[in-house]
Symmetry: C2
Subunit: 214 residues, 2 copies
DNA sequence: TTTGCACTGTTATAAATTTCACAGCATCCA
DNA sequence: TGGATGCTGTGAAATTTATAACAGTGCAAA
């Protein structure tokens, strides 16, 4: 003990980067590489090598001098930190384009994190399977979430259904919500909430493009 | 002069929040509200009222004591800062689920930021229109981008086409890229790049859910 | 075997961002 | 009319995040 708990204090930004490092490392591994230098990781992620080394220091991983970091070891270590041992089950509420994009994009990528159910109100979708994910009626939300031990919900419904969807998820005992809707939601303190609005990001890019023009 | 240029030094985080404030303000306006307090905005965005006031201070906007901020004025001011006067034209490369989701989600929301073209390699899609956006062949990328004065590109192609897509965009003279692919890209310094990976965000949510469990 | 090089690991420093603390003021209420 | 209240605006402090600077080390070439 003592070591494990320090992971609780990892900076949020480091957590995000660890996930990104792993993604990059998996790619390198599939290309046959076994070791990697901090500056190589840095290049891929558009950050500095110091930052990579600092992040790895925070998780207590040491590389080999002049050989770099062992990719497989590092992947495993990152997994032991950010993954949940028993795995985490995820639901997507809203099987429109965005919901289906996420499913496509996601299935089979991480074995400790699995989308195990989709929900929609459209009768044409209910009962069907999308990339291996069964679509249920939102009326069954609570039942399915409890039965399948789903702890994370991704909201991809139309904006006007956002609030009620979030409420239903909370009522069903969800622990984390990722809201891709443009409408912010309100949840109790014990539910972890992350909101992402694509318009904001696009407006930010547009702003800096405008600025670079003067 | 002197006032305008300070907007160049606005913190990145403030820029993002301004966009979010505007989104929330537009909603309030459509509900018939004319004024709003800093703590109301803060509540919606899950931040503190101090932060809202500080952001507004940075853009030089003053509210009325005990009445709050004039919503319309604030919307206009934010627009004058983050929007480009002539408008910015955007292209989406990759008309799969994610690309179409973005188009649906976006069209008609902001008049100073418009998606004016989509691109794909699938012959079934080329020539069609999706929510009013014409889909072109990627072979025409450079031609269309130059002709329509497109300065921002959103990449939503499959991962393995990411690198070449980014290269083509840069070659076509794009100024800003928003990459929704899990594969990081590399661009010259004068192209503003923003990358967003949905898996990272989901893994982050999962991490904090796991942590809250102990 | 020595010297230089190219890495890692870490402490110290700086920059960015958020929060605290409180002054000021218009309105309400007694 | 004289608080009390409930907001705004902002300098100062705290926190978070990133960068700089450099010591240590093992390999490689001479």
């Amino acid at each position: 003990m003592g070591k494990q708990q320090t992971f609780k204090n990892l900076p949020h930004k480091t957590i995000e980067r660890l996930s990104q490092y792993r993604r990059a490392l998996l790619l390198c591994l599939s290309n046959g590489k076994t070791h990697i230098f901090s500056h190589e990781i840095a290049k891929i992620q558009h950050i500095t090598s110091v930052q990579v080394r600092r992040d790895l220091m925070l998780i207590g991983y040491s590389g080999t001098l002049r050989k770099g970091y062992n990719i497989q070891e590092l992947i495993d270590l990152i997994g032991s930190i950010i993954d949940s041992e028993e795995g985490i089950n995820v639901a997507i509420i809203g099987m429109g384009n965005l919901g289906r994009a996420l499913i496509n994009y996601f299935t089979g990528k991480r074995h400790k994190l699995e989308i195990v159910a989709g929900f929609d109100t459209n009768p044409d979708k209910i009962g069907n399977t999308f990339s291996g994910v069964q679509c249920y009626s939102v009326t069954e939300l609570e039942k399915v979430i409890r039965k399948k031990h789903i702890t994370v919900g991704i909201i991809t419904v139309p904006a006007e259904q956002t609030t009620e969807t979030a409420r239903a998820l909370v009522k069903a005992g969800i622990k984390g919500i990722l809201n891709y809707t443009p409408k912010p939601v309100d949840v109790p303190d014990d539910v972890y909430l992350e909101e992402y609005d694509m318009i904001t990001t696009l407006e930010k890019v547009a702003f800096f493009v405008k600025m670079s023009d003067e």
